[in-house]
């Protein structure tokens, strides 16, 4: 036994002390508050989606003739298929929500400020990738709504300046939705986007480790509260608890509200009421408010402004250090997003 361990140590020369130092980052005391642990939630959900997604891919067939039928097979015939598919879909919903909440927390606590601007930009990349994963994933089901949603979205990309037509042709694999489109979505959803997410996540976490977590003090804290606590085991326990709660929530949602399968896509008839996934309600309503080109370009401009906000905020605070501009902008943005989402959800057209 001892020889085996020594032999293993020789072949895997890991310095125990350094490994402990590397994995055991000091965690600021404010992370005892739940609100500050939302960053780990999307990561956990991402792992759940990778696991269930690999399973679903065993049966999925990315061709217009077979896609809907293969999803029907998973939902109705394969053992536990309906449950795994429901978990995958609910995890996607919760992941979008968790990413948005995490981003709101970072925004309102000013954690994106100098020197952490790059990590906000990376975070924006992760938000966009999450939304793209949601879009491509929903398109794979090949129900009526996912087919028409994909058609509309692909045609919208034509409004991108200069590259528009090329981008649309790249996305659809032709001038319109055709037999090559689904395999493109499948590769994007199952390979390209997840790998990009893993790369950005690695950078995201590496930057957090390099900078350390932003420290916050609360007025309500008792004096003498220690500034830091250990990642292991204290914070890991918190994350375990979050994992357990998420598992319970996901299983409950998947069992009580299993994901339905809509009618098979019919390229010849658009349904009466057409809606994207709920996290695109904002964009969908926005597109109805203005002319197509204006709406699309302004959405792009808003995304760009969000991405570059840490630098904008920095220059404002350089001139007026006590400016509360970011709070005002943040509250306005949250209200606008909520308002547009509720508006879109409450009307048919």
């Amino acid at each position: 036994m001892g020889r085996l361990a020594a032999g293993l140590r020789e072949r895997l020369p890991v310095n125990r002390a350094r490994l402990r130092e590397l994995t055991n980052e000091p965690v600021p005391h404010h992370l005892k508050h739940w609100w500050f642990c939302l960053g780990g939630t999307p990561l956990y959900l991402f792992v759940v989606m990778v696991a269930t997604g690999i399973l679903l891919a065993f049966y999925y067939e990315a061709s217009p003739g077979r896609a809907w039928e293969s999803v029907r097979f998973v939902s109705e015939q394969a053992s536990y298929g309906w449950f795994l598919r429901s978990i995958h879909r609910w995890a996607a919903t919760l992941m979008v929500a968790a990413v948005v909440l995490h981003q709101m927390r970072v925004f309102f606590t000013g954690a994106y400020r100098r020197p952490r601007e790059f990590n906000w930009v990376i975070g924006m990349g992760l938000l966009v990738l999450t939304l793209l994963a949601g879009f491509t994933g929903y398109s794979l089901v090949y129900e009526q709504l996912s087919f028409w949603g994909a058609t509309v979205a692909a045609n919208l990309t034509e409004n991108v300046p200069l590259l528009g037509v090329m981008l649309r042709r790249f996305l659809l694999g032709g001038d319109s939705y055709n037999e090559h489109t689904l395999s493109r979505f499948f590769v994007l959803h199952g390979a390209v986007i997840p790998v990009a997410i893993v790369v950005l996540l690695t950078l995201h976490v590496a930057l957090i480790r390099l900078h350390g977590i932003t420290e916050l003090r609360f007025r309500t804290e008792r004096p003498g509260t220690p500034r830091f606590f250990d990642f292991f085991p204290d914070h890991l326990l918190t994350e375990l608890l979050i994992g357990l709660v998420l598992m319970i929530v996901l299983c409950t949602l998947a069992s009580v509200l299993p994901v339905p399968l809509g009618p098979r896509a019919d390229p010849l008839s658009t349904p009466e009421v057409i809606k994207p996934e709920w996290f695109f309600y904002v964009a969908f309503r926005w597109l109805k408010l203005f002319s197509e080109r204006t709406a699309f370009l302004s959405l792009g401009a808003i995304l760009l402004a969000m991405t570059l906000w840490p630098f904008v905020d920095g220059s404002i605070r350089k001139r007026r250090p006590d400016s509360e501009a970011s709070v005002v902008v943040g509250i306005a943005a949250v209200l606008a997003i909520l308002g547009l989402t509720v508006w879109e959800a409450s009307v048919a057209h």
């Binding site: 696991a51 399973l55 394969a78 053992s79 536990y80 795994l84 326990l237 375990l240 357990l244």
Partner: protein, 176 residues
């Protein structure tokens, strides 16, 4: 005089901390066990999900009119899922109207050894598998080669006679 004070101190010193530690240990263990068992359940479900469904969907397919199926002849048909099936009529009952189900046999043409396609050799009155020289009698029983050593016969299909028509139960799914 405060008679309760010393005992309260004692309780704090002897019971308070260990109780906290006890509760922490118990809850941590319970939590970890719950997480591990949920992942275990997930793994079991995943394994079951990937295993093919036990019940294959089948359907009754028409073979032919019983009266038109001459004794001593065979017919080859292809199931919707792509399997080749040999249906043969034996028996020497003189009354063709009193066709019994036992007269007919429907055999898969897939060798049970390694899945090659067997062919009927009328001159030898047997089925022959070209892959490893397996042989079967007209009833599908192995008579030589690896299937005989392993005691494997050609798979049979269920037959049914309904109002003078012969039907066969065939699987619907497969590569086709």
């Amino acid at each position: 005089m405060h008679p309760t004070a010393p005992s309260a101190d004692l309780e704090a010193a002897h019971a308070g901390l260990p109780r906290r530690r006890f509760l922490a240990t118990v809850s941590t263990t319970a939590m970890t066990a719950a997480l591990l068992s949920s992942y275990g359940t997930f793994a079991a479900m995943a394994a079951r999900f990937l295993l093919p469904a036990r019940e294959r969907r089948t359907a009754w397919m028409l073979v032919s009119d019983v009266a038109a199926f001459r004794r001593g002849t065979t017919r080859t048909l292809v199931a919707p899922a792509g399997e080749r099936i040999v249906v043969a009529r034996h028996g020497d009952a003189s009354d063709p109207a009193a066709a019994a189900l036992d007269d007919f046999v429907a055999l898969s043409s897939t060798c049970p050894h390694l899945g090659c396609q067997v062919r009927f050799e009328p001159q030898n009155h047997r089925f022959f598998c070209p892959c490893h020289n397996g042989t079967f009698d007209p009833e599908g029983r192995a008579t030589g080669g690896p299937p005989f050593e392993a005691g494997q016969s050609l798979p049979r299909y269920e037959l049914r006679i309904d109002r003078g028509l012969l039907f066969i139960r065939v699987p619907l799914e497969g590569v086709a």
